[in-house]
């Protein structure tokens, strides 16, 4: 018996059996064998709806009369009572079919989102005393040595000790090209090692590693409801009771005034009941946001909640931090002015002197020349520069203060930002100009933002005027503010916020947490490891690629768009069928479609939020 029950619980079995019975009953009805037809209709209803009836009874027991299943049961029983047997059966069967589709759609979207989120391996291979052991990633202590094989996902944030490989970072950063890594490089959990065997030391516990953080962020993001979701919740609280009351009035009032027969009016009331469930909306709208959040996460864009979407979709002003956001934070040589020597000679001497230093500026300068002469000794003077001794000469490379200290004449050399001076044996041999290099995608990223309706792009920088203006001009930023103290930056941002409907601030999360928090939308770039940034920002972008901002805006627009499509489509379809019902033009079949059919279509539509198309919107 229990096996039979289990068999009858399968939706597909219920659908097949009840449809067969339904067809049989139609045939008998056609042959005017009414009693037989009636019995078979009842059997079809029982097969399709026995669980629905049971749940309806449970609903009554907990005094929840607006339960969808209760309404369907009333509609089905009511139709049969009115003598519309086939309609009564159709309600149940089509409700069941619709529900089955709906569950499939929900399941499918859940699993596609889950697949995107499958970035956190449960196990790690630990190397201790020369023995490899696979244990739960959660149990791996900080500072352990782990082994990652080709094809495996990095389980815990770590630094490579031995080995080199190409790693696929796409599920964490959305960057399609693999990255080459070697000893000393950091790996985030969630990366996939494509080739090569890696030994690495873990930096933190698994639960604090990047992939776990991302997952937590995405999970809590779906709890922060968007404006649209909140609207639907509020709406459905009123919608169902109102339709049910309308149905009651529909059943009672027209017969009193003899406008309809009681049969007609009750039938119309029943169609109202079937339409009254707001499920299409209550499922599809949050699902669109869930899809948007999940889809964006797989491209390395993390939204802190559904509530970010509508603000982001309307963004008008985008303010950028300069260093590390528009620029890479790394230096490039932008010019050289030799004095009394050849340019090649100047660059060679500078590169040689700096070859032993590890200062960010030195790292740039030592790439200035392919030919490098190793100094015998080299001394770094903090804040000034380098003194390098060669067998036949002494080279000084550094700022103005260093030159002053060694009494080197700088006559005729104007003071300029980013100038590095070089002297040989007490004589100036030239100046090398360096600048922060602009990210290669910066100017296309800015123009793409303008192309989607961002009115004003702004740069807020503490850097010198010349530098800031040069950067702003070369990437196409509208307004530049320079030489700002951190407080000035915050004040300027505040002015921008008051002046525009929705203002975004983009920073690297270092030192600008208050601005990230103050802006309508704070975007932290390339700083998933920084707690203060994650805390303050509304959107966290895993890479430092500026074009992700454009993607983030477009994904949010698409998601908001889809949610409104669903709201309008579902309400429109339901409203239309209600009106048709009012004039007696809608039958039960149409009503069932208005309920479950609309829900399925809306869910399918919502799933589009998961995918982001590169070009066209």
């Amino acid at each position: 018996m229990s096996r039979f029950l289990k068999f009858l619980k399968k939706d597909t079995v219920k659908i097949a059996v009840s449809l067969a019975l339904f067809a049989l009953a139609l045939l008998f009805e056609h042959l005017l064998l009414d009693i037989t037809a009636f019995c078979i209709y009842i059997a079809a209803i029982a097969v399709a709806g026995w669980q629905v009836f049971l749940d309806a009874v449970r609903g009554i027991l907990r005094r929840d009369l607006l339960d969808e299943k209760f309404l369907m049961s009333i509609a089905s029983i009511g139709a049969v009572a009115l003598g519309e047997w086939s309609e009564g059966a159709a309600v149940m069967i089509f409700f069941l079919i619709g529900e089955t589709f709906e569950h499939r759609a929900v399941r499918k979207s859940r699993s596609s989102i889950r697949a995107l989120m499958d970035i956190c391996p449960d196990e790690a291979t630990v190397l201790a005393d020369g023995v490899e052991q696979t244990i739960d990633a959660e149990d791996v202590e900080e500072g352990s040595v782990i082994v990652i094989r080709p094809g495996e996902r990095v389980p815990i944030d770590c630094t490579v000790l031995e080995g080199s490989a190409d790693v696929d970072t796409s599920s964490m950063t959305g960057e399609p090209l693999p990255r080459s890594i070697g000893a000393g490089d950091e790996l985030s959990s969630g990366y996939v090692v494509i080739n090569g065997l890696i030994k690495a030391r873990t930096l933190r516990p698994a639960s604090e590693s990047s992939a776990s953080r991302v997952l937590r962020l995405v999970e809590t993001a779906t709890d922060n409801k968007s404006k649209e979701e909140a609207f639907i919740t509020r709406f459905s609280r009123y919608y169902t009771p109102i339709v049910v009351i309308a149905a009651l009035l529909m059943a009672i009032v027209p017969p009193i005034f003899s406008l309809m027969s009681i049969n007609e009016s009750v039938y119309t009331a029943l169609t109202f009941l079937v339409i009254s469930c707001p499920c299409a909306l209550v499922i599809s709208v949050p699902m669109a946001f869930f899809g948007g959040i999940g889809g964006a996460a797989s491209r390395g864009i993390l939204y802190k909640g559904g509530n970010v979407f509508s603000k982001l979709a309307r963004v008008e002003t985008v303010a950028f931090d300069k260093t590390g956001t528009i620029t890479t934070g790394e230096f490039l040589i932008s010019g050289a002015r030799p004095v009394g020597v050849e340019k090649e000679e100047l660059l060679k001497l500078v590169a040689s002197a700096e070859s032993v230093s590890n200062h960010p500026i030195a790292r740039c300068l030592k790439r200035a020349s392919a030919e490098i002469e190793k100094p015998d000794t080299a001394e770094e003077i903090a804040g000034l520069g380098v003194i390098a001794e060669f067998s036949d000469k002494t080279i000084l490379v550094g700022n103005r203060a260093l030159m002053h200290k060694y009494e080197i004449s700088l006559d005729g050399i104007e003071e300029k930002e980013g100038a590095v001076y070089a002297a040989k044996d007490g004589e100036l041999i030239g100046v090398v100009y360096i600048s922060d290099s602009i990210k290669p995608e910066a100017s296309s990223a800015i123009s793409s933002l303008h192309s989607i309706g961002v009115r004003n792009t702004v740069i807020l920088s503490g850097d010198k005027k010349d530098n800031v203006l040069r950067v702003a001009e070369s990437v196409g930023i509208d307004t530049a503010y320079y030489e700002l103290t951190p407080e000035d930056k915050y004040k300027k941002l505040q002015e921008l916020i008051t002046a525009s409907e929705s203002t975004m601030y983009v920073g690297d999360g270092i030192n600008d947490a208050p601005s990230l928090a103050r802006a309508d939308i704070g975007v932290a770039m390339g700083s998933v490891g920084q707690d203060s940034a994650i805390e303050a920002a509304d959107v966290v972008i895993m890479t430092d690629n500026l074009s992700k901002i454009y993607e983030a805006v477009r994904i949010s627009r698409k998601t908001v768009h889809i949610s409104w499509q669903n709201i309008i489509f579902a309400l429109g379809a339901k409203g239309m069928i209600l009106v048709l019902g009012l004039f007696g033009l809608a039958n039960m079949w149409l009503a069932v479609f208005a309920d479950v059919g609309v829900a399925v279509l809306a869910i399918l539509n919502s799933m589009r939020a998961l995918r982001y198309k590169e070009k066209k919107y």
């Binding site: 027991l61 969808e68 869930f290």
Partner: protein, 70 residues
Amino acid sequence: MKIKYTITGLDCPNCAAKLASQIESKDGIESAKINFLTEKLTVETTLSEADCRALVEKCAKAFEDGIEIE
């Protein structure tokens, strides 16, 4: 204490919200939240783990056929 369960077999977010508010109305439960899409039930409770689980399972059983709690 905060306890997280995986809850499967719910039909729609509407039902999920209803079940959550039912659980919430019980003695010893401070808050209950169901995320329909991630299928997670989060309960804040003063009850012991075993008691809480029994209560949650009872509520689910009285609510609808086929809801599973893990």
